[in-house]
Amino acid sequence: MRKEAICYTAAELVELGKEQIPEEFQSAAQLVYSSPATLAYNSPGAEGFGVKRAGLSVPGSIMLIVAPGCCGRNTSSIAKIKGYGDRFFYLDMTDTDLVTARHLRKIPQAVKEIVDFQEEQGKHPSLVMICITCVDALLGTDMERVARKAEELAGLPVRPCYMYALTREGRKPPMVHVRQSLYELLPKQKKKGTSVNLMGFFAPLIDDCELYSQLRSIGVRNIRQISRCTSYEEFLKMGEANFNIVLHPEARAAAEDLLSRLDIPYVELTRLYQIDQIEKQYRAFGQAIGYEIESPVKKQEALDAVKALKTAHPDLTFTVGEAMNGNPFELALALVRYGFTVSEIYGTPAPEYYVYLDALAKLSPETKIYCNMEPTMLYYDSSTAKADVTIGKDAAFYHPDAAHIYWNEDIQPFGYAGVIRLMRAILEEVSP
């Protein structure tokens, strides 16, 4: 038995082609290895935003988790994060509930009790999210109906959200569904030409992102993101937007809903770290909305930031993981195009990522690609590759002695400003 982690080079993957992605990269074909590098996959809520935290994005909302005890166990770590204390409640399911579904009859009363409990403490919740899990997915629970009953009894909006890990690779994964559930609350209202929503993330874009100034320069006065809304009423105003900008593909279904229900069109922008591609994307965005969108000063600043790092440390070798704010293949390609070396990537190639992989295979064919979830990662040996800097929490796990840029903060990097921040963070980390 070879005690060795299985990997493929970029050239090997491209040669096989996107129609023949090796089995080692397909989670459905094998058991999923559990290491700190896969925590974000197995338990998205453990770091960043999973369904529970995302479900509480609406200001003043609280959550009732209706599930077996095991599903709510890690919630105390979320409750420690500022702004989430005292917002989670639990209705434990027992094995009898599984057979009789009697827990469903208890939910409206439980919602009322937690609302009353909050009122007693001088808090006035705006919305109750009912979070249900795999068990109810299998029971086929109609939680919409239960939520309506709870709404009548408690006298405030009640929405379901579905932490169905079983459906994570299905048509509507949990993180897609939770976005739909939240934006469904937006009522039809008069549209304002000067309002735009940024959809996709549950934390705001970095303050210095050029997207804000670009939108302001074309007359947008209200740039709304769910995470910046300070009240339920302000959140509801997201329904007045002239158009939505979708920054994460998991928000596409919610944007489609808003298009059909509230007649709000949307455009999609991708987070990129290749400066020329960022520029190209802004140009296409401008054409779509009939304006010229550019940020030459910010672009130059990004170029300068890359140059500063390259000048100070021309021979840096990176390893890039997927537990970070970016696409590991696109970021690796950007780094290689800037003249750095990427020895390893820990990621899961999908057909749509081959646009990056094809280019990477040409420039850096020997870059090794591992799948965090693949069972032989138990035998991963860091001595087989050089790593000066790791990007991503998973990459840091594999190379503990390198300099680490976790790059997984809640506040989201985007555009030229994201490149600038990343380059400066790396420079600061590797400079003596």
Binding site: R73, Y90, D92, L166
Partner: protein, 358 residues
């Protein structure tokens, strides 16, 4: 309302207890879930996970696997992993998903055994019970499947300990304290099942001199070893005297004499502390034990309480007239009106807080 929690997050579930027993034994541990349970178990309830790698896997179940009951697909995955990973056994640990679809663990074990030449453990946890239930099941399955025929009595005096996984203990260093205490009593070797015991230790479990049960979860396995191999056992928590001294700043007798005391933890530890308090106060303390976890009726005294709901604890503290409470700090916010002395007695299974430096 029954089952409604307003203050506390759910306690460590049975699947975490089962995983904890098996974590360091060099097997392939497969959590029969979609991924979230594995994330919770490893990322939250398993303190060794971030420093000591183990072959823990999620079955990666998807909705159609569950709906169609595709056990053969799971067996195929197990077969593949057994070819890639060097392991001494395979353990399948249940979660709510197999519970809902009524997975037949015996059949699954048989199907797997036909394809994989490794001992198979199947533990039917369901995520709806607390950790000690899974711990108990894992201990029993471990001994039934892996301990070998009665070995010749070893020359060295060896003691096996059931019930000292991190979830059972107030602080991590207690494993070492239990060991030291038993070594000082004259044992040559101490085997902590679920902690540092190796697969060889488990295989040779029939040759130990005696077993010690430090938590109710270890009782069934100890009884099994007695019945099958004639190994005697005792229920006790070695080192409770030291623990009590650590918990109080002053002399324990000063802290508890003529006081009404309530202890909340797993029953064996709480009972051991009660005995110590009685000893140091020369029986001049009224001590009750309460637990949210398994309690053996025969080890309960009048005034002891098996708790299930949050309200039961609130009521007990409100009506009990206690002067001193020894319990995890997480429970303190439930009873702000309690004016007596609160002594922190951590329970990782309740709080999820675990400080490896302690």
């Amino acid at each position: 309302m029954k089952g409604l929690r307003k203050y506390l997050t759910p306690f460590a579930p049975d699947q975490s207890g089962a995983e904890s027993v098996l974590y360091q034994l060099g097997g392939i541990l497969v959590i029969l879930d979609a991924g979230g349970c594995t994330g919770n178990i490893c990322g939250f309830d398993e303190p060794r996970w971030s420093t000591e790698p183990s072959a823990v896997f999620s079955a990666g179940l998807r909705d159609m696997d569950a709906i169609m009951g595709r056990d053969e697909l799971l067996v195929k995955k197990l077969e593949k992993v057994a070819d890639k990973i060097d392991a001494g056994f395979i353990a399948m640990i249940g979660t709510p998903v197999p519970s809902v679809i009524g997975t037949d663990y015996h059949a699954l074990r048989r199907m797997t055994a036909r394809k994989v030449k490794l001992p198979i453990l199947a533990i039917d946890t369901d995520g709806m019970h607390t950790y000690e239930v899974g711990e108990q099941k894992a201990y029993l399955e471990l001994m039934k499947v892996l301990s070998e025929e009665k070995r010749e009595e070893q020359k060295e005096k060896t003691v096996g300990v059931f019930g000292a996984i991190p979830l059972d203990l107030p602080i991590p260093s207690h494993q070492e304290r239990i060991r030291q205490n038993l070594l000082e009593r004259g044992y040559d070797r101490v085997i902590l099942y679920g902690a540092d015991a190796t697969l060889e230790d488990v295989k040779g479990a029939s040759g130990v001199t005696e077993n010690i049960v430090t938590s109710p979860s270890g009782l069934k396995a100890a009884e099994y070893m007695k019945k099958t191999f004639g190994i005697p056992y005792q229920v006790e928590y070695p080192g409770a005297d030291q623990l009590l001294a650590d918990l109080t700043e002053e002399e324990p007798s000063l802290a508890f004499t003529d006081k009404k005391v309530l202890i909340l933890h797993q029953q064996v530890l709480a009972n051991a502390l009660r005995q110590e308090i009685r000893k140091v106060t020369e029986n001049r303390a009224e001590v009750s034990v309460a637990s949210y976890f398994m309690m053996q009726k025969e080890d309960m005294e009048a005034g002891d309480h098996k708790l299930r709901e949050e309200d039961a604890w609130i009521e007990l503290v409100k009506e009990g007239g206690f002067d001193v409470i020894l319990a995890d700090d997480t429970l303190r916010r439930m009873t702000p009106q309690f004016s007596g002395r609160w002594i922190s007695l951590p329970s990782f299974a309740i709080s999820g807080k675990y400080d490896p430096s302690k």
